[in-house]
Symmetry: D2
Subunit: 357 residues, 4 copies
């Protein structure tokens, strides 16, 4: 299928470029009768908005969303919800210099080879700015999940470059620009980012996403397993190079007698599975971990080529996130919400809803 649609029954169709007139999406399949306001969506958009701290891009975007359809008298009608976000602070001239050459590690190169034409302004379609419509759509999905199942979806940063961030409490997460679950480490993170910015370089990060209160039974093996679709969603997020669920890569040297989560009448005794067994949700919390690479738009000079294939030295000015991981938490939450809402509807469609699920 044309690649900009996400989901089957709870479906998002995304459009827009970083410096075009607007970005947005069509959210189709949201169940009818759900109260929905602009505020429900804006709250989530504001969490990923640029320019909110010195550690992220200084581009100033209000990211004001407009609901164009699908809501009547404050309630969803079951028809498509059109969402529109105007681009306001685009400084396209910043990109003139790189319009002709390819940033190492950037989609410049592949878009050019795929389409033979590209919008270089702000990365065009490949910009992380296009995660805004995803977050807006995810806000609708998470509200439906919360009302229907009491689902809670949260994410935090567990590592920034070399700095590991021990989990202390969810309470801290929304109180610092890093989505760190630990106040003590903030000064270290800030010093690291300040130095990085001076170097004109960028760094990677690790994000943990957790969904609680998920009914058992979501997932359509094989092939459309819940874990497969989560991996699809997360790996599709800009800069993500790795996705794991539950024990993830630590499963490699675990024995079956250690990894398999034992069950008692009171419930599971551990969660190495990350809430998914055989591609289907078990009812335990779903735990996902993301590896995010450093951004490729840096001031450091790199060797590259231009469209003619001639040597070029590339240095990216413009405004960029030195660590896209810093703003990734709300986006990862939104993606997980979209996958879960879609699978909840798929499951209800095929199996109806079981008391024990």
């Amino acid at each position: 299928m044309a690649g900009s649609t996400f989901g089957t029954l709870f479906r998002v169709s995304n459009f827009g470029e970083s410096h075009g007139p607007a970005i947005g999406c069509v959210v189709d399949g949201c169940p009818p009768g759900m109260p929905l306001t602009v505020k429900d969506i804006q709250t989530q958009l504001d969490r990923r908005r640029p320019g909110t701290s010195r550690h992220v891009t200084q581009r100033q975007e209000a990211d004001q969303v407009e609901i164009l359809s699908g809501v009547f008298e404050g309630v969803t009608t079951g028809t498509p919800i059109g969402l529109l976000i105007r681009n306001t602070d685009a400084r396209s001239k910043d990109y003139a210099s790189i319009a002709d050459s390819f940033r190492p590690g950037h989609a410049d190169y592949t878009y050019w080879h795929k389409f033979g034409v590209r919008d270089p302004r702000g990365g065009g379609r490949s910009s992380a700015r296009l995660t805004a419509p995803t977050v807006a759509a995810g806000a609708i999905a998470r509200k439906w999940l919360a009302l229907r199942y009491g689902t809670v979806i949260r994410a935090y940063m567990s590592q920034l470059g070399p700095i590991r961030i021990p989990f202390l409490s969810w309470d801290f997460v929304e109180q610092n620009p890093f989505y760190a679950p630990n106040a003590d480490v903030i000064p270290e993170l800030e010093d690291y980012m300040d130095a990085l910015r001076r170097d004109g370089d960028s760094i990677g990060a690790r994000i943990e996403v957790v969904a609680e209160q998920i009914p058992a039974g979501l997932g359509e093996p094989i092939y459309d397993r819940l874990d497969a679709d989560i991996a699809y969603a997360m790996m599709g997020l800009n800069a993500v190079k790795g996705v794991s669920i539950g024990a993830g890569f630590e499963s490699i040297d675990q024995r079956g007698s250690e990894h398999g989560d034992e069950i008692t009448p009171e419930g599971f005794l551990s969660n190495h599975a990350g809430g998914i067994l055989g591609g289907i949700s078990s009812g335990q919390p779903i735990t996902v971990s993301l590896a995010i690479k450093p951004t490729s738009s840096i001031r450091v000079e790199r060797r590259s080529v231009n469209r003619a294939g001639e040597p070029a030295v590339v240095q990216t000015l413009g405004r960029h996130d030195p660590c896209v991981g810093i703003r990734a938490a709300p986006i990862a939450e939104a993606l997980l919400a979209l996958v879960l809402a879609d699978h909840a509807l798929l499951h209800r469609g095929q199996c109806g809803e079981r008391e024990d699920a």
Copy 2:
């Protein structure tokens, strides 16, 4: 969509249970005019076949595939290719004991909660046996890719439990039951597996998959990026708990000036991207890494519950792989081939084929 279909233009619909009459699939969308014989498919099936060494399940299955349609006078016609594999060595009685209770870490539990009914024989639909049709379909995809682009897709085991396996040469990979790229480590692997089998336990593993000679431009951002679909395919493989591309989780503490692969007129100077930038293939080798968990069907006794929710002690007899990772290489190759073939057709559909791609 009902969950057993994989791909959009190069599409596989999988059916079957471990101990039912047969397993198989329908491969729809394979381009017409390609020479295809049973041998092309059987060769790949034989690579994942059980019972070929003492380190895997002792179930004896010939896994003989029959082509039911889509091929006329040795050439594909562009119509669906029906593939059938009869189950021959099913010992269902082995499973009577666990039909009523749930193996910790196994899909027993979630299938029961999803469907309210399940075929417990050999894990039924959740059995790794259902990867056979995937391998058969993948054999068709890889042949088309090889003929069309000269694509070569290979995989090897880089870690078995605690034992890391340094890459020496592809030459060794097909010469040992572990798909290890290193002959020196074989004795250690065999001793480890023998001891594990005596303990009645299981272990995880890590698999590396590499695809070479891929045209630049495959992938449909956003959302249907090539890396997203690879993650979907790999995470959907039984027992996989983690997927990474290129530098993967090592990207976390890399700087942009280190991670971004520089380009010269002669080509890229490194491949941290794993052959994919912005969700689109760059023409470099695509490198994927999988974390495979230990199987849950072990002789070690575990605590669990039965359908009534009462405490139960579960011990799995029957015949099982103590390390499903051992047979995962050909399956991972097949999945990557299916994703690449599908994206090659999608790209050709939207963009035609460019000289420079």
Copy 3:
């Protein structure tokens, strides 16, 4: 998507050629827990089976179906149901004569231009024989609909060539080889067919399909309306050239004050809508009408060309239906059942199930 898949949640993937080893399909998405036996399916297959009267093709096919998966202890498990039908009475030599030239009005010509290769034996993939898997899949859909909603789906022939067949009673339909709802007209139909056969020619027909006991609310406007998907299904049936719903083409000269079905607390007073308003089922019977063209495989000599584009005279021997409409009733019923089952699951997924629906 590759074209051989039908439906979204209740999905059928069809494979096979007229003279290949076998034909069949994978039915994915059938809800779990439904009793299902071979007899449920065979009963429907027998209704469309060839060779049952002198008025249809004399090819003798038992059309014995085998259930390969998805059913355990007589009950559906919610996993894909693999269905297999072996071809037994293939006389490929009959087709040698036309392998090189194109039958006027036949898919020979277009398959050749699309794929550049084709299986000419019995029409290969384009043969009406491929409706057998559709009927088998439809048998599963109709059983689910009957158990879930009490749905009854029936079809009859309302016109054979120039002979209009007034509807008298459903009781007659299964008692004659024409699916005619009127015993008095049988002799006339038989005489007509006997004369036609002597001429070596073929004729068209009109089929009416009616589904009763359909819940209101099925259909996903816009675009995936129930009427749109019914039209897709019916026009996709071999030889169908026209599809109408309710008043159909008679709506053209109706006034709104005549066409619009008035409603009283006791229900609708007419059914010009054919049970569908705005693309959504109203709860009234769904009525569909099909125009079926005469088959192109006739003994009468016709002008055509061969692969080289040179003039050729084509005369089709082999065994053919002089009126495919005669066997179309059970196929049209199956297609309607598949569309309705799919939309019932889609509706349950998005909206849950409403008491008043």
Copy 4:
């Protein structure tokens, strides 16, 4: 799938309600490198715009389209094209009277039963106004087809209620408000419509759609045949109750020796097939015929019920088309363009492009 997406590779996702803030769509999959301006789209929108003659609804809508994405420096980039049309002349108060009861023959009734909530203003989502985004998307598809294959797609009215309109010339079609291919009949049509309007009633119509210069080989049997998808598209158009291709319902009493189009080295000698054989385009003109019912929004009083199921008398004021068929021509053309563009891309994906196709 959520129902508001149309097409696979050339895909449209539609949103909006008649009296909401805006309507529009996302067009995903348009090949890159095609020149595209607002004018290309506006020209087609203006052809279906309301208020252009006394014979259609007097609602005044500029239907000004804005391109939000997917076009850079006047050329498509291969990324989604977001299209936005603001609603400007909404008089919602007109509908207060019918918010609680159901118009006979209208989607009011079924939307209510499906969703349990609806936007009654101007018919909300079920309004023919939602064909505007389809026309806008179709304008992009038809431009691509024209540039790529020289395809020409046109439609005309062949019958208005009881008045048959003999085809004289395409030249007349764009010169009268009825899209009639015959100037002589215009006075009769105008008198008929004036009388009808005085009666406060509505009437049906018949539309013929023709696509010329279509490559042979488009269509994916079975099931996604070109004729099946055309039927899906056309039956999904508001008020359409019947669709036929080529000889359509006249095929019923044709003999095979009459219906089958003979072929000579110079081409086909007739076109009863309507350009499609076995679900695949033959290269001949594709001819489609539509039966359009009279609108249900009329001033004539009708019997109905309200939400409580109590008897009600319904009379629709507001502004409505007494014959939606009058404005259907450009919409039907757009739908055919969308189906053809999608199948052209699907065919190119699976088969590449053949010289002889």
